[in-house]
């Protein structure tokens, strides 16, 4: 699975740095670093609803530290664990 976190200007201002850190931590805690590749993405084109992330081909917007656990569970953890 490929996960991209948008680091465009707008998402950056809304906290891409924090989301990347949260994502790194969550992947480590769940021992998923082998199965999930994490990278940065330049603008995903959803600037007004940042932070945006992309999981494989699906773009998820409005990621914040508050909504992160739920989004991680739904889009990363559940699909990977099958």
């Amino acid at each position: 699975m490929n996960v991209y976190v948008c680091v465009g200007s707008s998402c950056h201002l809304k906290g891409s740095y924090q989301i990347i850190e949260l994502m790194k931590k969550a992947l480590e805690e769940n021992n998923l670093t082998d199965q999930v590749s994490l990278s940065a993405a330049f603008c995903l084109g959803k600037c007004t609803h940042g932070v945006s992330i992309k999981v494989d081909d699906e773009i998820i917007t409005g990621v914040s530290p508050e909504s992160f656990p739920e989004i991680f569970q739904k889009y990363v953890l559940t699909p990977v664990k099958g």
Binding site: V7, G8, S9, S10, Y17, I20, A40, C43, K46, C47
Partner: protein, 390 residues
């Protein structure tokens, strides 16, 4: 003609407790390929010294700029400047360096510490001829220039640094030469070299300078061009034209902005590979496109570059950050402030609809203003700037 140019940078610190500096540096460029630097040190300190040195440097630079001979200028100074009533000695001491066509330098030195010339990083003993003008002994030299020649001019505050404090007799010209030979790096700019020496003097003074201290550095270097693109053109039909021109330019290429890098990658038939490393949490990560030297985010990164540029023009305090860090803003700063002498900006005026949100401090007019201010600051650094809008 050769492909050399002169990089010039200077800094002063005031005598402890004084509001005004009694040293004065004036720079004039009488023509495109000649530059004149005058460093005058007014007698005493404070207001009087400031007026004397301003008067001296201004008279000399104005006269030199209108193509009068250096002898003539000196004669005028000797005849016109007032004599100090308290000390019965005259005016201010001065050093004039005039560089012509980046081929030779003419030096006129009156009572300032003798100019230090570093050639390939080592002190070079140049010839001096003593002359009497208006009853004053003046040293004159004419030196054929070579690449990396570095002329270090100081006021006597530099050689007096540390007297009675950390050193018994101050540090002599020889000590300054030794120090600068040790610190020399051919990639340092004139401003950086001046900062290094001035900071050392300030340290020797225990940060309470006993005299106004000024260091001015002129460095002969190769011209080097760097090209920076920010923003896609307002009409996407111009993509090819803008990028064709941009990539036809010699020198390094910097691309700023997410949308811009996508457009560039398409043009080059490459992909954008963003780097995950957030080296500075405040600056978005850089990316890689094959064929481009540096790819960064746009407005936030440029905003930081602008603040580094402003610091460079003032006290150069932020140098310790941008001089080595690997984030986008630091890398751009090094390329523009240190490497480049000629910078071509390719500015696209496309409006990113997603950024026209009142909550975001990155809208279109802010981007245009940032580019304008950055160009202005780079001009003040002595760079040749060309801006093309699309």
């Amino acid at each position: 003609m050769n492909n050399l140019c002169v990089d010039l940078g200077w800094r002063s610190i005031n005598k402890h407790g004084e509001q005004l500096c009694g040293d004065r540096v004036q720079i004039v460029e009488p023509s495109a390929d000649s530059v004149v630097m005058v460093l005058a040190d007014g007698l005493g300190s404070g207001v009087k010294a400031n007026i004397l040195s301003t008067l001296t440097s201004k008279i000399i630079s104005t006269m030199v700029a209108s193509n009068m001979t250096l002898e003539n200028c000196v004669q005028t100074i000797a005849d016109t400047l007032p004599v100090c009533e308290v000390r019965q000695v005259a005016y201010s001491t001065f050093t004039i360096i005039r560089m012509e066509n980046n081929e030779y330098a003419e030096l006129i030195q009156y009572d300032n510490p003798l100019v230090i010339l570093l050639r390939d990083g080592k002190s070079f003993d140049y010839e001096k001829t003593a002359m009497e003008i208006g009853g004053k002994t003046i040293y004159k030299s004419k030196i054929q220039l070579k690449e990396n020649d570095t002329f270090i001019t100081t006021s006597d505050g530099a050689i007096h640094a540390g007297i009675g404090m950390s050193l018994n007799f101050g540090w002599q010209r020889e000590n300054i030469i030794e120090f600068m030979e040790m610190m020399y790096d051919k990639d340092f700019t004139a401003k950086t070299l001046a900062t290094i020496l001035l900071d050392e003097c300030n340290k020797l003074y225990g940060y309470q300078p006993g005299d106004d201290t000024t260091v001015s550095v002129m460095k002969v270097r190769q011209r080097r061009q760097v090209n920076l693109m920010i923003g896609p053109p307002s009409d996407p039909a111009d993509d090819e034209k803008m990028l064709g021109l941009f990539f036809s330019k010699e020198g390094k290429h910097i691309v700023c902005g997410g949308t811009s890098s996508t457009v560039v990658a398409r043009f080059l038939h490459q992909t954008v590979q963003p780097n995950l490393g957030y080296l500075d949490p405040e600056i978005p990560p850089t990316a890689t496109i094959k064929g481009v030297d540096l790819v960064t985010e746009g407005v936030i990164t440029i905003n930081r570059v602008l603040s580094y540029a402003k610091s460079y023009l003032e006290d150069n305090e932020e140098y310790s950050k941008w001089s080595y860090k690997q984030d986008g803003a630091s890398q751009i700063s090094r390329m523009l402030f240190e490497e480049a002498t000629d910078i071509n900006f390719y500015v696209g005026r496309a409006v990113n609809p997603a950024h026209q949100n009142p909550d975001l401090p990155i809208n279109f007019s802010i981007k245009m203003r940032l580019v304008d201010e950055l160009c202005q600051s780079l001009k003040e650094m002595g760079k040749r700037i060309k801006v093309s809008y699309f």
